[in-house]
């Protein structure tokens, strides 16, 4: 009991909300009697006369209900139950009566026996012994009967004997009285038996148990009503057309005739009604009881959710005759459940957001840190470095001897390279922020490999052999972002060199079939679309291998992570930011490729990257071909484009031991003079089979050709070469300007790189000098920024006259000329400049009114042979048509407004 109370309390605590009744308390039009659906049973009232229908909210088609009870399984089973129960009770009563009878009989027998005994013994007693029932106390019933019996017995008087004791008369009298008593007793017994028989008869004749059944039914119904009266439950029975025959706890305002004989759809309107009807029908058809939660949205009772249980009802012939249904209102529960679900969902969402945010914050922090570092680096390194390079460039214009100039050139090109690398590192932040755009330019893989190795060899301070090996099938010309590819190669090579103390470091290029990871690589497809290239693509696999210290297996996973190195020990020993491989990986992936590594400790590592390239049709490059043949005429040069093998041999010890001037030698390793393994030429050109590539970036093929006597002592090679062919040296020097244009074939890809290459080739190299002739301040400002972005500086002239003055006083590699300008427009200015180039004097200009006094002392020899490229900047109007530009001696034109891309292309085309 205590336990029960506790649970009750608990339930109450749990369900604090007062459960409102299912139907509203006060529904308009509800009359008090209505609530109980007073409906006198019509017609066949006999059967259910006793049922107190008035007490219930039940509404039933009373004609049909008995039918139903008789015809359905459920109905008949209940009746059977009741009958069984009644029978059982009857049996019980009969049994009890029989027992009683048995007892009585026994008693009588005993009494008789006793009497007999007394008579026999003639044993006189003073007092009549009381009959002691054997089964005394054995049952209440018996006792009751005993009492009864006593009452009914003839008064048990003491037999009064008048005669004197122990006389004959006395005994006679006594015998007589006893006789009488016996008679009375017998009589009594007879009567009892009679009564018993009568009673039994009555009981047996009690064949119609209507009253009792009715009582039972009433009790059952009362019980159900007691349980259900406040429950939010609707129950009903519907026939197979889903018309209500019976409903319990209907909506208060509905009257019997509103419901009985009608279907849900006829009674209610609104959401859920159809669904419930369909559900009932489904159950009816399938013949399987089931439950469903249906939310009703009716005009009558608003929005309520019911959990509906529907079961099919069969008659005895197992035919479906309708359904029973029970609906429990679970609106609150559903609401709570939904609330819970929503809360849970919100919670999950919030959690997800939180973790996302944390992640973002983390990423942002890291990005910020990286950016900060990069910004700092770029600022801290770039500024002083550009100072160094700038000074070096100025220095290079002064009078220097051969060796000094070469040292200076190493300085400039190295500085340039560092600047380039810094810019590339800055690119990493661009890749990360998604701003990085790839460029598609034509380039020669062999050349790139060679240049990378050359550059690496230039700063090599170890005894390492650098080699490049390019398979024959690798196309001569491919399209890709050469800057990035160079960057990757440079990075990997410098890494390899850093961790290799002896042996060799090399690059191997070969064509491979399209790798599996690229099969659904949409990125690449996008890139292709962007580039608008429909040519065939080729996958080139590039191995960068070394014989270095290798990488332990456990360090491989974090190898490509930013700021990570194989171990702290390595970081201390070898330095570095830990950014290099991360950059490479990101770049490779950005280009749609894959970067992998295999390594064995103490044996070496191989970094492999696979990238897709477009194969550029070689006839696209007719310019190149022309220029190339020119080049061959002028100064036969090894055909880089087909060469498949390069090698850069280590310096010999003697060089290291040298003192001061050797510094240059450290940077300028000797030529690799081993004749046999060095050359692998692709046959088709067949030229210059003995050509070898010099490291150090001081490729002077002319000299090499002329000095091809194969000097044996490599350590002295440099001097030997120098000494042997001074004339050729100077010739190449003086013609460097002329050849610069021809060499433009090497410059298809990267301006910076080619500046450098050029620097190497022409020893008098410096930043190209550009003159911008433009009167519009804004245009100047924009152009200046663009030039800066592209890595150039330039002078400014505000009109044609200023331009002529500038050209007269200084030599330029390129002029960008606005067409429409005050004082002297671009077309006229160009005509005058061309006339000067032809005639070697400014007469025409002077005639045109340009005031030139200063410059009579200029030597014209170089200039006259050299046509200054003049690029028009036109607004593409009629007055500034391209024809007119060409007619006036301009070489090309850029349409305005000038964009970075246009400017870049133009500068690339004309500056190298």
């Amino acid at each position: 009991m205590v336990c029960e109370m506790e649970t009750d309390q608990q339930i109450e605590e749990m369900d604090v909300e007062v459960l409102s009744s299912m139907w509203p308390e006060d529904v308009g039009g509800t009359e008090p009697d209505n609530q109980f659906n007073v409906e006198k049973p019509a017609g066949d009232s006999d059967t259910l006369k006793e049922v107190d229908i008035a007490e219930k909210r039940t509404m039933a088609d009373l004609k049909r209900l008995p039918d139903l009870l008789n015809t359905t399984d459920q109905g008949s089973s209940q009746l059977t139950n009741l009958v069984k129960q009644w029978e059982y009770m009857q049996d019980h009563a009969v049994r009890l009566l029989r027992e009683e009878l048995k007892i009585l009989t026994k008693q009588r027998e005993e009494a008789e026996a006793k009497e007999l005994k007394i008579i026999e013994e003639h044993n006189f007693e003073t007092e009549e012994p009381e009959n002691v029932p054997v089964l005394d106390e054995s049952s209440d019933l018996f006792r009751r009967f005993k009492e009864k019996k006593r009452d009914k017995l003839v008064g048990r008087k003491r037999i009064e004997i008048d005669e004197e004791f122990d006389t004959v008369a006395y005994w006679k009298q006594k015998a007589l009285s006893l006789e009488k008593m016996l008679e009375a007793s017998t009589e009594r017994e007879r009567r009892l038996i009679e009564k018993l028989n009568e009673s039994l008869k009555t009981m047996e004749s009690h064949s119609a148990p209507v009253e009792e059944l009715t009582q039972n039914l009433k009790r059952a119904e009362g019980f159900l009503h007691f349980i259900l009266q406040n429950a939010p439950i609707v129950m009903g029975h519907q026939d197979k057309d889903l018309r209500y025959l019976f409903i319990y706890n209907k909506f208060p305002t509905l009257r019997e005739h509103d419901i009985l004989g009608k279907t849900d759809v006829e009674i209610f309107h609104g959401g859920g009604v159809k669904e419930s009807e369909d559900f009932k029908r489904e159950v009816l058809e399938k013949g399987k009881a089931s439950k469903r939660e249906i939310t009703f949205e009716t005009d009558l009772f608003g929005s309520k959710t019911f959990l509906i249980y529907v079961e099919p009802v069969y008659n005895k012939a197992r035919e479906k005759i309708g359904i029973n249904y029970m609906g429990m209102e679970v609106t609150d529960q559903v609401r709570k459940r939904e609330k819970m679900a929503k809360l849970r969902e919100d919670n999950a969402v919030r959690k997800a957001m939180e973790s996302e945010l944390t992640k973002t914050i983390h990423i942002t922090e890291e990005t910020m840190r990286a950016k900060q570092m990069l910004a700092t680096m770029s600022h801290e390194i770039r500024s002083p470095l550009s100072g160094v390079v700038g000074m070096a460039e100025i220095l290079s214009t002064t009078k220097l001897d051969k060796e000094q100039r070469q040292l200076l050139n190493v300085m400039i090109s190295s500085g340039d390279l560092v600047l380039q690398l810094i810019n590339d590192i800055l690119d990493l932040s661009k890749v990360e922020s998604g701003v990085m755009k790839l460029e598609a330019t034509k380039f020669r893989p062999r050349e790139v490999v060679k240049h990378v190795l050359q550059t690496a060899a230039a700063s090599l301070k170890k005894e390492l052999t650098l080699e490049g090996n390019i398979a024959d099938e690798v196309p001569i010309l491919v399209v890709g972002d050469v800057l990035r590819i160079r960057q990757i190669l440079t990075n990997l090579i410098s890494n390899a060199i850093k961790f290799t103390h002896q042996g060799k470091v090399g690059i191997k290029l070969k064509v491979i079939p399209k790798p599996s990871f690229a099969s659904d690589n949409t990125h690449k497809a996008d890139a292709e679309e962007q580039n608008g290239l429909a040519e065939t693509s080729v996958w080139i696999c590039c191995d960068v291998y070394d014989t270095g210290i290798g990488i332990p297996e456990n360090a491989l996973p974090c190898l490509f992570k930013k700021y990570m190195q194989a171990s702290a020990d390595h970081a201390r020993k070898y330095g570095g930011t830990g950014l290099g491989l991360a950059i490479c990986k990101q770049l490779v992936e950005l280009m749609g490729g894959q970067l992998t590594v295999t390594s064995q400790v103490n044996l070496g590592s191989t970094f492999t990257f696979i990238l897709p390239y477009k194969v550029a049709a070689s006839n696209d490059h007719s310019d190149d071909q022309d220029e190339f043949s020119d080049m061959v005429d002028h100064q036969p040069e090894p055909d880089d484009s087909t060469e498949g093998y390069f090698q850069f041999k280590p310096l010999l010890g003697s060089i290291y031991s040298n003192g001061g001037p050797v510094m240059g030698n450290n940077f300028l390793p000797h030529k690799a003079m081993l004749p046999s393994p060095v050359k692998l030429i692709n046959g088709n050109t067949g030229q210059s089979e003995s050509v070898q590539v010099e490291n150090g970036g001081y490729m002077d093929d002319t000299r090499l050709e002329t000095g091809s006597g194969h000097c044996p002592e490599s350590a002295h090679q440099y001097e030997n070469g120098n000494g042997r062919c001074p004339s050729k040296e100077s010739e190449s020097c003086s013609s460097s300007q002329a050849s610069s244009e021809m060499e433009s074939e090497f410059t298809v890809s990267s301006p910076r790189e080619d500046v450098q290459t050029e620097t190497e080739v022409k020893e008098t190299s410096k930043q190209p000098k550009i003159l911008l002739v433009e009167d519009n301040k804004i245009n100047i400002m924009v152009a200046k920024s663009m030039m800066k972005q592209l890595g150039y500086t330039f002078d400014i002239a505000n009109n044609g006259v200023e331009a002529i003055t500038a050209i007269n006083s200084s030599s330029y590699d390129l002029v960008l000329m606005d067409v429409c300008m005050p004082v002297l427009d671009g077309l006229k200015a160009t005509r005058l400049i061309r006339s000067y180039e032809e005639s070697g004097n400014w007469d025409a200009a002077v005639e045109a009114g340009v005031d030139i006094k200063v410059l009579e002392n200029k030597q014209m020899s170089v200039r006259s042979t050299n046509r200054l490229p003049i690029i028009a900047m036109t607004a593409n109007t009629l007055s500034e048509s391209s024809e007119e530009c060409y007619a006036n001696g301009m070489d090309s034109f850029i349409s305005k407004p000038v964009t970075l891309q246009k400017l870049k292309q133009c500068l690339q085309q004309y500056l190298h």
Partner: protein, 154 residues
């Protein structure tokens, strides 16, 4: 306003300038030219454009108000304005200048007056819009945000 919201509205605003044709793709060149060393290149060049254009428009008004209009003087002004507006991508000003120049060639004084009004109208429009744009950017920077080239150029 929250930072993210401001950045969003900056983007939307920038987009609207392109949609309305006030700016064209040339304007997208400018943020590309910005780097650490001149982080406010865009605003520098644009304010130079304002300065320059104010002067040119003033000169133009004066020249056109002369009794005898000297088209030899007017035309270079228009050309100048056309060049600079084209350089920063102020498309509608540029277009108005093109029309203006054609009337200068015809020496049509009346049409030139109309054109000047048109050019001025377009100029003040783009000026107004760009100033708003920069204000938005400043607000973002003031609240600790960053203006990336992407914000300007999508």
């Amino acid at each position: 306003m929250e930072l993210g919201q401001m950045q969003k509205s900056l983007q939307d605003y920038t987009k609207s300038l392109f949609v309305e044709g006030i700016l064209d793709s040339q304007f997208l060149q400018l943020p590309q030219l910005q780097d650490e060393s001149n982080s406010d290149f865009v605003s520098q060049v644009v304010s130079l454009f304002f300065q320059d254009s104010d002067r040119i428009l003033n000169d133009l008004s004066l020249s056109l108000d002369q009794k005898v209009v000297d088209f030899e003087k007017v035309d270079p002004y228009v050309h100048q304005l056309k060049g600079s507006s084209s350089s920063i991508g102020a498309q509608r000003v540029k277009n108005a200048c093109v029309v203006f120049r054609s009337f200068c060639e015809q020496k049509n004084v009346e049409a030139c007056h109309r054109c000047l009004q048109q050019v001025k109208q377009e100029y003040y429009l783009v000026k107004n819009r760009l100033e708003t744009l920069f204000k938005l950017e400043q607000q973002i920077v003031a609240s600790g945000g960053m203006i990336s080239a992407m914000d300007l150029g999508f």
